[in-house]
Subunit: 212 residues, 2 copies
DNA sequence: CTATTTCTCAGGGAAAACCCTGAGTTTTTT
DNA sequence: AAAAAACTCAGGGTTTTCCCTGAGAAATAG
């Protein structure tokens, strides 16, 4: 008997999973939580074998919650649930200890297979996501997924530029010299291939560079 | 007996709705479609009274599908389903004929109420979304309230600014003096309430000021 | 511990953007 | 035809951004 818990703020998804698994005698749903807080609270009482965890939670970032939970309960297997198949996202959450990644268009069969895989210490990814990750690591990708890596400071400066702040204001906000802000701005323009700050903002919005 | 169909590429959501409504004798789910294409195909055979339509479909933009369906079947009531509560998004889909908007964290009671409301030619919005829209229209928001009217030239200049062009370049492209371009830029900043060109671009993207 | 990356800062100059005022011309609306 | 709105341009000044070089300190990765 596998004990499964679900954390998702979408009732429909919760219902969907429950309905899918209701006639599976090997599965028992031991908990349904609609927020990170409730999950933490409930797991302090009793831990399931597997937690299906929605990434887009209202209160906390799903990745942080994942990290936190695994720190508390190293035996717990977490399968990330998401609507998006962004590979960078997948990589991030897997790096933070999740054992699997499922899109919400999954099937009962896939769910069951995922449970088995992660409980025998494997890692379960949906085939198409696996393919994508593979392509990415092989460089077989088209062009668009060239998501440049920005450093912490660069992200902060970029965010401030997007807020229509001037170099002077950014410097004061970050407690650094205006010259340093300029350096970051120039590095950003160079890294992102923009011609000026306007291009920076466009790229930041398009590629969602500031999310997380 | 209300005939309800669902279009959503997430099996879990589909299952969730079905499971929620399975014991409602007044509701009959007449179709479940995982893509826009399948929906169009199926509705050409038989139309439901209400269609629960996920906005984020793989093949077509949900808003376009909504418009298309209502062109074909004016009697059809469409309730948009989404994970996001972006008010601009809500406004857009309602303008395109949808009768309701529900987040995926809805409940059975709300679903049933939504069905009733839209079938009696009303418009159903979740209370919190309604509140948000209200606040927005009351000017409780920063700059999103008014849709500023831009002149032909202003749109051209704005578009060029968004292309990362300098005043000099824009002047050459439009065969006008750089001074004139500056004037337009200043008028834009003033009209749109931006602090600089970066703000201009952000607003242009957010509010789709350059579409037509 | 070492190598690499990131973060920090500066000088100095060119270019672009920002901001005001004022004003004639053309186009559109009434 | 008159009024309003949009388009045009300029003078003249301030502020900000852009761009280069160079370089030490701190944090991170191997």
């Amino acid at each position: 008997m596998i004990k499964v818990a679900i954390t998702d703020d979408h009732l429909l998804v919760m219902q969907g999973i429950e309905s899918m698994l209701q006639f599976e005698s090997s599965i028992k749903i031991t908990g349904k939580y609609s927020s990170a807080e409730k999950t933490l609270e409930a797991l302090s009482e009793e831990q399931p074998d597997v937690l299906l965890l929605d990434i887009n939670l209202p209160d906390i970032n799903g990745i942080d919650l994942c990290k936190q939970l695994l720190g508390l309960y190293p035996e717990l297997k977490i399968i990330a649930l998401s609507s998006h198949d962004d590979t960078n996202f997948v990589k991030r959450i897997l790096k933070n200890g999740a054992s699997g990644y499922l899109l919400k268009n999954t099937s009962k069969e896939e769910l069951l297979e995922a449970f088995e895989t992660v409980l025998s210490d494997g890692q379960y990814l949906q085939p198409n996501i696996q393919q994508k990750l593979l392509n990415q690591s092989l460089g077989t990708q088209k062009r668009n997924t060239l998501k440049p890596k920005l450093t912490r400071r660069e992200k902060e400066v970029l965010a401030a530029i997007c807020e229509e702040m001037t170099t002077q204001e950014i410097a004061e906000q970050l407690f650094i010299s205006p010259k340093t802000v300029e350096t970051h701005r120039m590095n950003l323009i160079s890294k992102l291939g923009a011609r000026n700050s306007v291009g920076l903002v466009k790229i930041a919005i398009e590629q969602e560079l500031l999310k997380d």
